[in-house]
């Protein structure tokens, strides 16, 4: 049975609140500082890894509500592309183009490598089903 859209949205909102608060707390505990933004880098790479891992979990495959609460919700709230863009912009603005490029490209390649590794724990059809249920948003 497919849960109605409002219920999915509520699950995503709840998860998104949790993920954003966790990201905020980690950012307060370990601020990015002025060099390579390692904290945001670690948040985005770990979130990408975890999202690619979700199709391997039986509970996630059973419940679409849980899938969207954890994927688009918690992990979508945990990771951020806006902060990455702003950090890249700020580094360029400071006249540090090599560091900006290393950060933006480094985040992308490491996140993709993390997804590749995490994908080994689930079958392609499980990943496709997870995407079809909009867990990958």
């Amino acid at each position: 049975m497919t849960p109605p859209l409002p219920r999915l949205l509520a699950a995503v909102a709840l998860g998104g609140a949790v993920g954003a608060v966790l990201r905020h707390a980690v950012g307060e505990a370990v601020p990015d500082g002025s060099g390579f933004p390692w904290t945001t880098f670690a948040i985005n790479v770990s979130g990408a890894f975890a999202l690619a891992l979700l199709p391997a979990l039986a509970a996630v495959r059973r419940s679409r509500t849980l899938a969207v609460a954890l994927g688009p919700g918690v992990l979508g709230g945990w990771t951020t592309l806006s902060a990455t863009s702003e950090q890249g912009r700020s580094l360029l603005d400071q006249g540090r183009p090599a560091l900006a490029a290393a950060y933006l490209l480094g985040t992308l390649l490491t996140a993709l490598a993390a997804v590749t590794v995490a994908s080994h724990w689930s079958r392609p059809e499980e990943q496709a089903a997870f995407a079809a249920e909009e867990g990958d948003r």
Partner: protein, 108 residues
Amino acid sequence: MTALLVAVGGAVGAALRFLLGHLLDRDLPVGTFAVNVVGSFLLGLFTALSLDEQLLALLGTGFCGGLTTYSAFAVQTHARGRRGALYAALTVVVALGACALGFWVGQA
């Protein structure tokens, strides 16, 4: 109090991202692309406007952070194989440009 503002912004941003992805993501994830670009524009704008701490927690860390996603971006890129390279390059470059544009608008 700050954490509550981040939670509210994150909840609204995440739900809006899911809704736009639901409506627009097809073979190409147009909805996810759009929220990542718009969220980057807004964060650049909010940064230039030097919002106070509470407002930045609600709109920047919360809303923009919840609206945009790196996890879905990475998984979608991976799932699309070679075509994913174009999607990834477009997202990173256009989001960076949008962020710079937002910052520029905020300074004007």
